[in-house]
Amino acid sequence: MAGFLDNFRWPEWECIDWGERRNAVASIVAGVLFFTGWWIMIDAAVTYPSQEQMNHAFHTCGVFSTIAFFMINAVSNGQVRGDTYGEGCLGRTGARLWLFIGFMMMFGSLIASIWILFGGYVVPKKEVAPGLAVFFQNAFIFFSTLIYKFGRTEDLWG
């Protein structure tokens, strides 16, 4: 009973060579998520234009998420480990600090969007769709960042 799934194997997909395509697939999935998040927010801004339905300040979360996306993905994993050829502008410690600040902004925006959803929409029992839009925008940008950062390999020799 203990190991009855040990010999189970997923069906082989031999038509696609995942090894070489992994970076491209990760980039495309990250792109879909990121821009879907933004279009969800654009749709909410168009559908609920007034300040009472959706406070225009809520766009800030998405903006900071986007800035965090570019900060996180500007630094390669090699620079953080310290094994690239050049030093980069800030060196290894600077790269780590940049990445740290980027991740803090990303997590902060995600937490803020969850706060906005519950504090601004669920609890006061307003129509919840704009709050959901803010939340999904930031959640999608968050997952897009993770996929773009960690879904790609940096093996220089393929």
Partner: protein
């Protein structure tokens, strides 16, 4: 050159895609021309790939940050060209039937552009002299 037949075939599918887009605007029951803004996305979509191929000299399979950024941006442009008709339709600026026609046209046009890249753009000897 991969052949005249491929070129003619791709231009045919491109014309079909643009026909869908124009049907979504010009049919009598629709009549508004806002969906034509997706033409901007059609024109923008190959640009990141062109730039990344021009800037980087290596076409081997090693990880190439510029090429991946180009894929990311191109995917974003494609998603935006589908997002715009949906937002317009949800706002009742256009009707859902027009939205469906525009999205069909989008799919055909982007497959055409992809077909151009597959047929004419691949290979190690990609150079601007092909034009």
């Amino acid at each position: 050159m991969a052949g005249i037949k491929a070129l003619v075939g791709l231009s045919f599918t491109g014309a079909i895609g643009l026909t869908f887009l124009l049907l979504g605007c010009a049919l009598e029951q629709y009549g508004v021309y806002w969906p034509l803004f997706v033409l901007i996305f059609y024109i923008l979509s190959p640009i990141p790939t062109f730039i990344s191929r021009r800037v980087s000299d290596d076409t081997d399979s090693s990880s190439n940050a510029c090429r991946e950024l180009a894929y990311f941006l191109t995917t974003g442009i494609v998603v935006s060209s589908f997002g715009l008709p949906i937002v317009l339709a949800r706002n009742t600026t256009i009707q859902w039937g027009a939205c469906g026609l525009v999205m069909t046209g989008n799919a055909v046009i982007f497959l055409t552009i992809l077909g151009f890249f597959v047929v004419f753009g691949g290979g190690d000897d990609f150079s601007w002299e092909q034009w």
